[in-house]
């Protein structure tokens, strides 16, 4: 795949924001040694891929994957510097297929090797954090300034950080509310058989409503409430804006949390509970020594699903005036400016991946050793 990538168009140049782009191959931009370095790394990766299994080969693959990424980015940077000259002050470049395939190759090599590796969760986390770190470094040093997305960003830096914060607050608030409501609901469904069906029927139904529709559904009732109760209106509750967005996002985030809370309790064997209370644990000790350690990892993985989902869904919240990174996406859609869309989408993906990875590490850390399938 790396080989193919070297032959595909690597980068695109546009004289200005809305003009048609012109694609360049890696070899035709005027780069000196970068294509050769990339080719060498791809060749090494191929050789490693053919040399079988083993911890050393695996470590080699991880290193090559990271190196590939570390070399691809500067190549794109230099290409940007070469293409955007003084004659084209509004010129901008954007990576195209060749670049993305190389990034994808990096991802596949590193992930594929890490999956079966017996590294500690922390080490795995650190390795996975390397590529994003490289990107951040590149951004911080201004190397990516000629990139279209980055230019879109520079034009809206203030707005961007403002919407980023809004996005995070909406998602975090929704998940927090969903945890506060979802864990007790899961407990209730488990403890009282009578509640099991209605609770699951409700959260499952919510999940089947398309997200756009759910946001829309919030508008009418909240507008009504707001009109009826001045107190609510004073608190900022309206048909559109933050309140309906939060409610809709919370409802969405509910299912994985309720489901996993319920499951986490139902998979504890009766014998374990009987043994615990038979040995003289009181209610609190049973919770602390038996139920919590066994169920918390499962509940956390429910929360993990919810958070990732919420970060994505929050994008739609922009449609009902709640703000967030979705603002750029929909602006970009309206202005037919793909780079603006990408500028909104990329941070959303990065956020989701970061939170996902972070929680994965946390879950691995709180999972008791006796429950891990492959103890370190």
């Amino acid at each position: 795949m790396g080989g193919v990538a070297l032959l595909l168009p690597f980068i695109e140049f546009k004289p200005n924001r809305v003009a048609e782009g012109e694609a360049f191959h890696l070899w035709s931009i005027g780069l000196t040694w970068e294509p050769w370095l990339l080719a060498a790394i791809v060749l090494t990766a191929l050789l490693l891929g053919l040399s079988g299994e083993g911890p050393r080969v695996r470590a080699g693959k991880v290193a090559v994957g990271i190196a590939l990424f570390a070399a691809t980015l500067p190549a794109a940077l230099r290409a940007g510097l070469i293409l955007v000259t003084d004659q084209t002050p509004f010129g901008r470049v954007g990576p195209v297929s060749g670049f993305w395939v190389l990034v994808l190759a990096t991802f596949l090599i590193v992930e594929g090797s890490l999956r079966t590796a017996r590294y500690s969760p922390l080490l795995k986390g650190a390795i996975r954090a390397l590529p994003p770190t490289i990107v951040i470094l590149a951004l911080a040093t201004g190397g990516l300034d000629s990139f279209a997305m980055v230019q879109e960003y520079v034009n809206r830096a203030d707005r961007f950080s403002q919407e980023l914060v809004t996005h995070l607050r909406l998602a975090a608030g929704a998940v927090l509310a969903a945890v506060t409501a979802g864990v007790p609901l899961g407990l209730l469904a488990w403890k009282r058989r009578a509640f099991e069906r209605p609770v699951f029927a409700a959260v499952n139904t919510i999940q089947t409503v398309p997200s756009l529709a759910l946001f829309g559904l919030m508008i009418a009732p909240l507008a009504l409430l707001s009109r009826q109760f001045p107190l609510l209106r004073a608190m900022g509750v309206q048909g559109i804006g933050t309140a309906p967005a939060l409610i809709a996002l919370t409802l969405y985030a509910l299912l994985p949390i309720v489901r996993n809370t319920y499951t986490s309790l139902s998979v504890i064997p009766d014998a374990v509970i009987e043994a615990g209370s038979g040995m003289g644990m009181n209610r609190y000790q049973l919770l602390r020594l038996v139920e919590a350690p066994l169920s918390i990892p499962i509940i956390l993985s429910g929360i993990r699903t919810s958070v990732v989902q919420a970060i994505g869904n929050t994008t739609v919240a922009a449609l009902i005036g709640a703000g967030g990174l979705g603002v750029f996406v929909f602006q970009g859609l309206g202005q037919a400016a793909p780079d603006l869309i990408v500028m909104g989408v990329i941070p959303i993906i990065v956020l989701a991946v970061l939170v996902d990875r972070g929680l994965a590490v946390l879950i691995a850390l709180v999972t008791p050793a006796g429950l891990r399938k492959d103890p370190p």
Binding site: P269, A271, V272, E274, A275, G276, S277, G278, M279, G280, M281, N282, Q285, L289, V290, P293, L294, P368, A369, G370, L371, P375
Partner: protein, 371 residues
Amino acid sequence: MIEFTGVSKRYGDTVAVDSISLRVEAGEVCVLIGPSGCGKTTTLKMVNRMLNASSGVITIDGRDVASLPVEQLRRSIGYVIQSVGLLPHLSVRDNIAIVPRLNGVDRRTRYKRADELLDLIGLDPAQYRLKYPHELSGGEAQRIGVARALAADPPILLMDEPFGAVDPLNREVLQTEFLRLQRALKKTVMFVTHDLDEAIRIADTVILIKDGRIVQHATPEQILARPRDQFVRDFVGKDRALKRLSCFAVRDYIRQARQISQQDVAAYSNGEHDEEPVVWVNGPAGVLVGVLQRITAQSGAAALSAGARASFRMISLKPEDVGVAPMSSMKEALSRLLGQGMRAVPVLDERNCIIGEVRLPDIEELNQAVL
């Protein structure tokens, strides 16, 4: 001492336990046995109040269990459940030390205690203390379950089919282990099983339950010898006379054995001998090597009645094939007797030297008590 007085347990209309009265003396192993669903588990669980009796009183050393704080009551009673129920997220030593932990014993002391208990149940602490339940075999898990019940050194043990989930061979190993422990620890034990052989092996007294009522409460030997009614008779089976022999130990029925040493076989053969005792032959160092067999010139009976002088020859025996140990059961002695077609079996010490013998007539006499 545990005492039940008119204890019942009802679930709505069904009566699981029906007005049971019983007494388990301190240091006694009392086995509850009966068909599935007869109320054994229910009876057991009322002692540590995993279930509360619908009526009647249960006392431990004279104190009503209903009047004791329930957590404290349970911590003073070792409890082994059928499905073991080790906590999957805790290591073996944390599992064993759980009750001391609840009692606020510090970590160092309770880990020391866990190691002691691993030693006691015959598992190497260095090898097992850090394992997790999913890394144990069924038999090992059962043992850890017993160790856990013993951790706080409770005077009472409740065991609900503790060896139910292991194969017959390992079950016997666990039973032997249990008897050894019990001889040293002298706990008051209530033990549920539906394996009659297990009950006979480990019980001081057996309580046979049917439909929530006690049918017979007696020693295993008495139950086998004198079944109270047809139900008990059916339950213990047609071979109860044979089973009953396992209640008796060889050491109580040893008779003096006639033995000569190998050099003297020829001399003996030429002597006068009217009766026909079994004569064992010892080799060097007094180890059993054979038994004398009478040979006659003409065919058997005629020659004997003619008063012909008997002559003997030695038949070689392998001690480990024919002998029994003093600790063996009379059932084993009988089985050896039948296997060898002889009228006595040698009782041997660890070096295979003869201590004495067990004779067929003594076994027959034992069986006369069976009605």
